[in-house]
């Protein structure tokens, strides 16, 4: 038991931790927007698309949900260049996160679309709205309201999962932690502090999403 904790390095590390946290926030912001958009397209395609498209989306969802995110990331970052697609680490990370999240949220959005009564669509069509407008203006907002809590959880899970992208040298929070502990030799203390930062980020993100959701989607969003 000759070990004593030392947090003296922390004063000089605040900048690096803040920079890392900012990158993590950027990653999750882009992923949330792009992933949600992609999953709306995917869910709509899975419901109304031609059969080959429906099968392709279903296969995509199964493949992504049954393989680890880390392997998907390595496949995109190390594997795609052999097909001539070379991506920046941060772009590869965003792409991997977006594709991974979409696989989960396609199911969630699909469940939300199923929850909107058929009569809503019929009523809107009877009023003479074009099918696309019916989807965007009538069905989708109601579906989003139903699935908002599940979507929120998925976004928080994705934020936590993003720690892994440090492995392809994206300079986010975990990467900065790795660098710090290599410099200070205070591995436990460094990861302890960064874990607390992640805890704060996940609680803050959840609060932000719930509050923002109430404002945009109206009351009744938990």
């Amino acid at each position: 038991m000759g070990y004593s904790l030392d947090f003296g390095w922390l004063a000089g590390a605040v900048g690096a931790i803040a920079r890392g946290a900012a990158t993590t926030i950027l990653l999750i912001a882009v992923t949330t927007l792009a992933g949600t958009f992609l999953s709306i397209l995917g869910a709509a395609g899975k419901r109304n698309g031609p059969k080959p498209l429906r099968l392709a989306i279903a296969a995509y969802v199964e493949v992504m949900r049954n393989t680890p995110f880390l392997v998907q990331l390595f496949f995109i970052f190390f594997g795609l260049p052999s097909l001539g697609i070379r991506l920046d680490p941060i772009l590869a990370a965003m792409l991997a996160m977006m594709l991974n999240m979409a696989a989960y949220t396609i199911e969630i959005v699909g469940a939300g679309l199923d929850a909107v009564p058929r009569g809503q669509t019929e009523a809107a069509l009877a009023l003479g709205l074009r099918p696309r407008l019916v989807f965007v203006k009538i069905v989708l907002p109601q579906a989003l309201k139903v699935i908002y809590p599940a979507l929120t959880s998925q976004i928080v899970i994705m934020m936590l999962e993003s720690a892994v992208v440090s492995q392809i040298a994206v300079r986010e929070l975990t990467y900065e932690a790795d660098m710090l502990q290599a410099r200070t030799f205070r591995a436990f203390e460094t990861y302890f502090v960064v874990t607390l930062v992640y805890l704060g980020l996940s609680m803050g993100l959840r609060r932000l999403l719930v509050g923002g959701g109430r404002r945009v989607l109206g009351a009744g969003v938990s």
Binding site: N66, P68, F69, Y191, L199
Partner: protein
């Protein structure tokens, strides 16, 4: 340089996959045992134990697994234990799993009607007997689908232990990739092996869910 044929790559990956399976099983069994203890605290009648258990669960669900593994890896030596990737990986995943399993089973306990407890009490059962004979069997039975679903998540999570140096499927694949420079094949095969392990379980969880919905 050693030449690797496709079959060499596949053979080495499959050998490494044994460790992924073993780690998943160890973490699931360990997680179930610790998770049961957390569940007892979480549904206990005293307020402070419930609060401790909720805090424990929130802590593990609110931080990245990678950080939990790092803390385990660098924290255990401070308690005088030797650093070994296997210990850190197994313990880290055990605690991670315990938090999720406790929460899943807690939802099962909560879903049972109040009358189940009352019926147990009126039969003269004391608290532990009520739990063992009436509450837990039903709670486990209605949460079977999410439990299997979590097992899939746990198997996928073992990939992260490669980062703290545990020699499982992904770590082996990194080594093979460095030797062969065929990332497309290597990581493709790794994904395929994980898929073969997880997909049947996913389908099983889905079947359980549908069966539960039909009742």
């Amino acid at each position: 340089m050693i030449e690797f044929t496709f079959w060499d790559i596949l053979r080495n990956l499959l050998l490494a996959a044994r460790w992924t399976v073993l780690l998943s099983l160890a973490a699931f069994v360990g997680g179930a045992l610790v998770g049961l203890a957390v569940l007892f605290l979480r549904i206990a009648k005293t307020k402070w134990t419930r609060r401790i258990a909720s805090g424990y669960i929130a802590l593990f669900q609110g931080t990245p697994l990678l950080m939990q593994l790092f803390l385990m890896f660098f924290g255990l030596p401070m308690l005088g234990l030797r650093i070994e990737p296997w210990t850190a990986a197994a313990l880290g995943l055990t605690f991670f799993a315990s938090a999720y399993l406790a929460e899943i089973w807690r939802s099962g306990v909560d879903a049972l009607p109040r009358g189940q407890w009352d019926a147990g009490a009126s039969l003269g059962l004391h608290y532990l007997q009520e739990l063992r004979l009436i509450i837990l069997p039903q709670a486990f039975s209605i949460t079977r689908a999410p439990t299997v679903g979590f097992l899939v998540q746990l198997i996928k999570s073992t990939a992260l232990t490669s980062i703290i140096g545990f020699e499982e499927l992904v770590r082996t694949s990194n080594a093979i990739n460095n030797a062969t420079f065929e990332p497309f094949t290597v990581y493709g095969l790794v994904a395929l092996i994980f898929f073969v392990m997880c997909f049947p379980l996913t389908q099983y969880a889905r079947a359980l869910e549908q069966r539960a919905a039909a009742h």
